[in-house]
């Protein structure tokens, strides 16, 4: 059981409230853990607002569009053996990103044990999966553009589709690139024993938090842009 669950069981809901009040009324710092992790969470909150605003705007723009919205199942399909499989590559991309979230979570668990080789191997795997995701997204973009879908135009239907699609997936892809750079840097530091030298492996967890956020955003992009 976690700290506050134990407190809650021991003292009822009042202990949970006391914990919140204690944190917010403390003198020097509110969150009783390192700056790195606290700031990554605050950054994640702000980025949630960025993507949340984009998705809200996408809803309004799509509702107000006078021309038909493209059938995503058709636009994003792969033809296997003569049969058109809707959203196949997108489904694969989703599985790959979820898997990379799994590997980074296991990597963070390994970092708690300060197991250098295990942490590094799992970070490496996360990087490979993330790079695969990025490559597939790049392929989707190329394919779309080749079909005539641009940020400003759509060969058959609402031009707003391209605008919202490229902007939102573009922002997400940029976050993936930044995440890959961050993970690579942490991986190198793990391999060089840097975190043993400075005494804390917290950066692995911080990088993991960022990467989970990237997956989290994709969960909503997958739902709203591709399915709904």
């Amino acid at each position: 059981m976690t700290e506050h669950q134990q407190a809650a069981v021991a003292g009822g809901r009042r202990s949970a409230w006391r914990e919140i009040v204690a944190d917010f009324s403390r003198d020097v710092r509110t969150y009783p853990f390192g700056w790195s992790k606290a700031m990554m969470w605050i950054f994640i909150l702000s980025d949630l607002f960025v993507f949340g605003s984009f998705l809200a705007a996408y809803a309004g723009v799509r509702m107000a569009a006078t021309q038909p919205w493209p059938d995503r199942g058709h636009v994003f399909s792969l033809t296997i053996g003569g049969a058109e499989v809707p959203l196949l590559l997108i489904a694969i991309m989703t599985f790959i990103l979820i898997s990379s979230s799994g590997t980074v979570a296991l990597s963070v668990a390994a970092s708690h044990e300060r197991n250098r080789s295990k942490t590094a191997a799992l970070l490496g795997l996360t990087l490979v999966l993330g790079a695969c995701f990025l490559g597939m997204q790049a392929y989707e973009w190329t394919h779309l553009i080749h079909e005539g879908f641009l940020p400003s135009s759509n060969p058959a239907g609402a031009s707003q589709f391209g605008a919202t699609f490229f902007m939102i997936t573009g922002f997400h892809g940029t976050h993936v690139v930044i995440g890959l750079i961050f993970l690579a840097r942490v991986l190198l530091r793990v391999l060089r024993g840097y975190y043993d030298r400075i005494g804390t492996w917290e950066q692995v967890e911080v990088a993991g938090l960022y990467w989970h956020f990237v997956d989290l955003v994709w969960v909503f992009i997958f739902a709203f842009i591709y399915l709904i």
């Binding site: 976690t2 700290e3 506050h4 949970a16 914990e19 919140i20 944190d23 917010f24 969150y31 009783p32 853990f33 790195s36 606290a38 969470w41 605050i42 994640i44 909150l45 949630l48 607002f49 605003s53 998705l55 809200a56 705007a57 809803a59 309004g60 723009v61 799509r62 509702m63 107000a64 006078t66 199942g73 809707p86 959203l87 989703t94 599985f95 979820i98 979230s101 799994g102 979570a105 296991l106 668990a109 708690h112 400075i198 005494g199 804390t200 917290e202 950066q203 967890e205 993991g208 938090l209 989970h212 997956d215 989290l216 969960v219 909503f220 997958f222 739902a223 709203f224 399915l227 709904i228």
Partner: protein
Amino acid sequence: MHGHADHVDHSEHQAHLPVGVYLRVWFMLFILSAVSYFVDYFQVEPLPLRWVLIVLLALIKAALIMNYFMHLGSERLSLVYTILLPPVLILALAAIVIAEGSYTSMIRALFGG
């Protein structure tokens, strides 16, 4: 990148979840993603139900990722509420934008363009 003052993580309270939890959550995320894919593939009717299911599945996936992978479930409540309460404002924004969108759509239908 780090200050010597704060690598002394007095509360390097690290959430230690058994590996099995990560694997089970991972598996659940696959299942939920597959279900939402098929809700769309089989074109579940009525349409609002399809959308409700897809959004619900996305929210459950998000909750699993935040609670277990990001360890929010093991963190201080002050952090949990810091992260979960402000996004309610995003829902308010979405509601307003959707109301506006429906109005704009009507105006465009009536007056063209």
